[in-house]
Symmetry: C2
Subunit: 356 residues, 2 copies
Amino acid sequence: MPTLTSSQLANLSEALLEAAGATKEEAKTVSRLLTESNLAGVDSHGVFPNLLNYMKGLREGTIKPNAKIEIIREQESVLLINGNWGFGQVICTKTMQMAIEKAKQTGACAAGIFNCNHIGRLSDYSKMALQHDIIAFVAVNSDPGVAPYGGTRAVLATSPISFAIPANAEKPIVVDFATSVAAEGKVRAALYKGTQLPEGWILDSQGRPSTNPADLYEPPLPPAQVKLAGALLPAGGHKGFGLALVVEALAGALTGTGCDGEITYGMTNGVFILVLNIGSFVPSESFKERIDKLIRSVKSSPTAPGFTQILIPGEPEYKEEEKRSKTGIPIPDAAWKTLENACKEYGLDIAEILRR
Amino acid sequence: MPTLTSSQLANLSEALLEAAGATKEEAKTVSRLLTESNLAGVDSHGVFPNLLNYMKGLREGTIKPNAKIEIIREQESVLLINGNWGFGQVICTKTMQMAIEKAKQTGACAAGIFNCNHIGRLSDYSKMALQHDIIAFVAVNSDPGVAPYGGTRAVLATSPISFAIPANAEKPIVVDFATSVAAEGKVRAALYKGTQLPEGWILDSQGRPSTNPADLYEPPLPPAQVKLAGALLPAGGHKGFGLALVVEALAGALTGTGCDGEITYGMTNGVFILVLNIGSFVPSESFKERIDKLIRSVKSSPTAPGFTQILIPGEPEYKEEEKRSKTGIPIPDAAWKTLENACKEYGLDIAEILRR
């Protein structure tokens, strides 16, 4: 298994995206965010497998290179953005920047995005607000994969949400999770590893509870494209179900992207962003000191059996980032093979790219 | 067990609150909301036991009758309100009204409230926005009762959240839940009934998982005032924990109310409100039709074993409301006794009040 530094991996990703038709700026933004996910240990949102999906999207025309975003509606504290099917990362980064500027003026801004491709890891965008002393919330919907509480058919998206909350001396609180029990990527990981799932994650195509990851997917396995036969279950029963409905309403209906059967393509994301300017409420410094105090109090709780420490949301990723910054990013052999092949296909000298 | 109509119960509550020192307007607002909770079957947030707590608050001076709310900070899309320790219901109703008016102007408004008493059921306020074609979110923090994920000490509040999302022909989506596995009231209900709890709800004073509701409380039992010895657990493990931290940040730190050890009185609520004007994003009618379609699609999913139908968040309460509007609100004998005693204490003729 080869190991790359984050700048090597980013350079490789950039070269491939540009070769596949992305502009330099797009390739830079997308590759930086994908690589940061790998660095943080969130490989499901990293260069592999996403880069190849994006290259496929460029080839098939579902991702439009050099797309310009359009402001469709604008008010003091609202933005509605048509992404014109560019890279989700580029659209969402620009929208978050604009939302932050508006929140500095009016105290709060809510933004919706439609015609948008896969944006990747939500916390990439919520974290952008931290340095501005702004609290950010991001939610996306996508094609259906999750059954309602009490039901068996996949009607709702995994509907992930992220919150970023700045602290002072402590690391910020960065929440980022699917409102289903598990993200689809974790089921796929178990499928590839050949392990069983914990109970309560999925239903099979007949609506029966299953611990076999293969039961989530349409054959043939492993799936070249993700097509679900079964359904994921909502986290915490009716609570995750309620949150998923809220995300469908905010990221699907309020943005005009659509919900439920309206999203048919697995790379589509409806995006909802909310940013709140802390200083409009209370002095930022006192807010951040309160968050420090909260974090320390939480971390000083005695641990439960099976735990050696209490981790704040976002902390596992910060820890892994520190580690991989030193040790490099391990690239599984299968992923390395596909990257090598892609370079060959586009006539790129992978050894030269890694020396840059 | 006596049964009262909702207007009888509201009249009784009003008379007692006025007798205990509330103004006519306060007594009306508080009694209407408490009675609506009983009507919807959410007795934990109804007249009993809350009315007696509020009367105690008036006597002890923790609830200040005729308190005026003060706008401390105001921006295009932000309100920070000092409740001056009036009735939570009165403060929160007025703040929600102001937030709705601001959202109509700028598209969105976020409001924080500090120095605020118990506001009761969160959906009472989120639902106020529905008729304006506005989406509302409400969250409150309070004194600590929930352990962090992986920890055993009660550091976080039960941190309930509510979302109200308007529909067109269908009933609206009204989400309202604690981010802990169970609200404290449900553990207390089990204690009174003498039943065991499901696994995963609470830890005892030693941090050990327990199914005995008594293990949550400081003796003597039943508790006259709720004092926790153990801790509730967060819903969905790290997910409910993450949400509780967000609620502490929004309702505690951003409002200036404080988090963790800073709230020492069980009737204190830090309140965070967010409202979004649908028409600022997309035409309200098309939004609401999309929500109708989503609701119908969710409800038409085949049901899982053990379920006969799929209920949308808010639907159980609407159903119970319809039922109790016809059959009346059952008053448990113990609660009736305390209401009779309270009337006697204040020289009120309960029979006359019920005839009004």
